[in-house]
Amino acid sequence: MPGFDFPPFDLPPEAQALRGEVRAFLAEELAGKPAVERARSWSGGSREFSRRLGARGWIGMTWPRKYGGHERSYAERYVVIEELLVAGAPVGSHWVADRQSGPLLLRFGTEEQRQRLLPRIARGELCFCIGMSEPGAGSDLAAVRTRARRVDGGWKVSGQKIWTSNAQHADWMIALVRTGDAEQRHAGLSQLLIDMKTAGVTVKPIANLTGESHFNEVFLDDAFVPESMLIGAEGDGWRQVGAELAYERSGPERYLSSIRVLLEFLRVVGDAPSEAERLLIGEMTARMWTLRQMSLSVVGKLAAGENPAVAAAVVKDLGTSLEQDIPRAVQALARPDCDLSGDDPFQRTLWYLLQTSPSFSLRGGTREILRGIIARELGLR
């Protein structure tokens, strides 16, 4: 079963060489940034940071030069991404565009769309959001009801998206909409590029359990979308969105989200850990090292032109479990005076990740959905 075959992949020397450059850049950019801020990872964004990263050539790295890309290898991109995440860089403004919207346009977009959008994404100027989920369409994504009605020169789109991360900051949304009949389910879906400034598009932030607003409701009320903003072919939305989700799932961000609290734990434990502390550190280190090898193997598959969708689901499920186990295990083992009310970096980071980690196995496809993909590869369904 090829989905479960993970051959080791060694980063080539040029990728390792790039690592030093990225580290030096980040050390300067992020000097003095508090641990709890770093723990936000891709939930935090800064347009200025994205522009500076773009200027370095570290967005759209693997894309063709003619679209503003840099024709670097997947391995080089991987190194940049893992360094950004481990450092806790504010990558949220360009994250979605670099990871999935850009690659989607590269693969299915029209020439006009590519020329217009990809160079600006690569410069770090554009923020994209993902308009998949709806109130009635979560795991069952094919239940999407937002309708695109044909009008002169394009469509009028009406409906509602929800949980749309970054919609309040985004320039563009790639929306999965129904262009055919509801009875058609999969066949009636298409993907549209929607300019967030379009009349009839209203964004309403939703506060998450910490009180911060990262995701939103997006209301579409007869919003006009020109013909030229259809991605790929009408009715191909389901197939395309499957490819988009594979891009979304295959990155290293799927096991590193809680590394900050592990690092903070190491810092407070110091060089005289108790046995229980050593056991926790050892367990999490072995799991993290293994996941990194698996993540690298997925990069190897991408580089070889394979579609690593199942392998990526394996990494994401194991990875998000690790991301959730780390804060819980650290809490269970923290010194008794740690009551989560402390203002020190360790307690603040731990408290932040304890609260946010439940989302790790929801966003980008839930744990149960991923296990369903794996079960299909096993031949169980």
Binding site: F4, F6, P7, P8, D10, R19, E82, V86, I259, L262, L263, E264, L266, R267, V269, G270, D271, A272, P273, E275, E277, R278, L279, L280, I281, G282, E283, T285, A286, R287, M288, W289, T290, L291, R292, Q293, M294, S297, V314, D317, L318, E368, L370, R371, G372, I374, A375, E377, L378, G379, L380, R381
Partner: protein, 230 residues
């Protein structure tokens, strides 16, 4: 995979899948996988040896082949490399137990349909597949590191990860097999009982987690990521 390695994999499979005796193994030269060609061996690397050792675990073969392979080369830290061998056998046995569990749940019918069609079973076997994949990845990366030399950290992680995977997966394997898996006649226990033994051979989870944890803590937070990406 190179042509030679593919040939080794085929030979290994042919020999080890037939409950071989030592003569069959020796005749195929599987004990000489690391011995240079000029000395009549296969002239392989640790990654080649992995194919043989993993298959030992997969087919639950009880021959001292791993020991013979270790004896055939000079290794500085014998215990460490023995642990690496056990991790590889465990990776193979985990894959075999997974295959067996998938096969069994597809055939066994209850409530008028195969067990495999129940989502509760599917989700458990998905976890099993992930754990087996992780153990195999860790072993493969450790053997590759051994070819580069100085693989103490990687071997420690591989053995610990194999132990973790065995703990989680053997429970699932037995649960989805029902009473049949608890019999002496059915072959699941050839794999799971070995996995339980191997988990305690050459270091259980406490042993390796302590060793890795002490080393990582000694190096400190500032070196953690740098060490992981060396």
């Amino acid at each position: 995979m190179s042509e030679l390695r593919a040939l080794l994999a085929r030979t290994t499979e042919q020999v080890l899948s037939q409950t071989p005796d030592w003569a069959a193994v020796a005749q195929a030269g599987l004990d000489k996988v690391l011995v240079p060609e000029s000395w009549g061996g296969f002239g392989g690397s640790w990654e080649d040896a992995l194919i043989v050792i993993r298959a030992l675990g997969y087919h639950a073969v009880d021959l001292p082949l791993a020991e013979a392979i270790l004896d055939s080369v000079r290794v500085e830290e014998r215990d460490l490399h023995t642990a690496m061998m056990v991790a590889a056998k465990m990776a193979g046995a985990l894959s075999a137990a997974l295959d067996l569990s998938v096969e069994y749940t597809r055939q066994r019918q209850q409530f008028g349909k195969p067990l495999a069609s129940f989502q509760a079973i599917q989700q458990q076997l998905a976890i099993f597949a992930e754990e087996a994949a992780a153990a195999n990845m860790a072993a493969a990366a450790a053997f590759r590191a051994a070819d580069r030399g100085g693989a103490a950290f990687e071997i420690a992680c591989a053995k610990l990860r194999a132990n973790q995977a065995a703990r989680i997966s053997t429970a699932i394997a037995h649960q989805v097999h029902g009473a049949m898996g608890f019999t002496s006649e059915y072959r699941l226990h050839h794999l799971t009982r070995r996995l339980w033994k191997w988990s305690s051979e050459q270091g259980n989870e406490r042993f390796w987690a302590d060793r890795i944890g002490a080393q990582v803590a000694q190096r400190g937070a500032a070196n953690f990521w740098a060490d992981l990406t060396r």
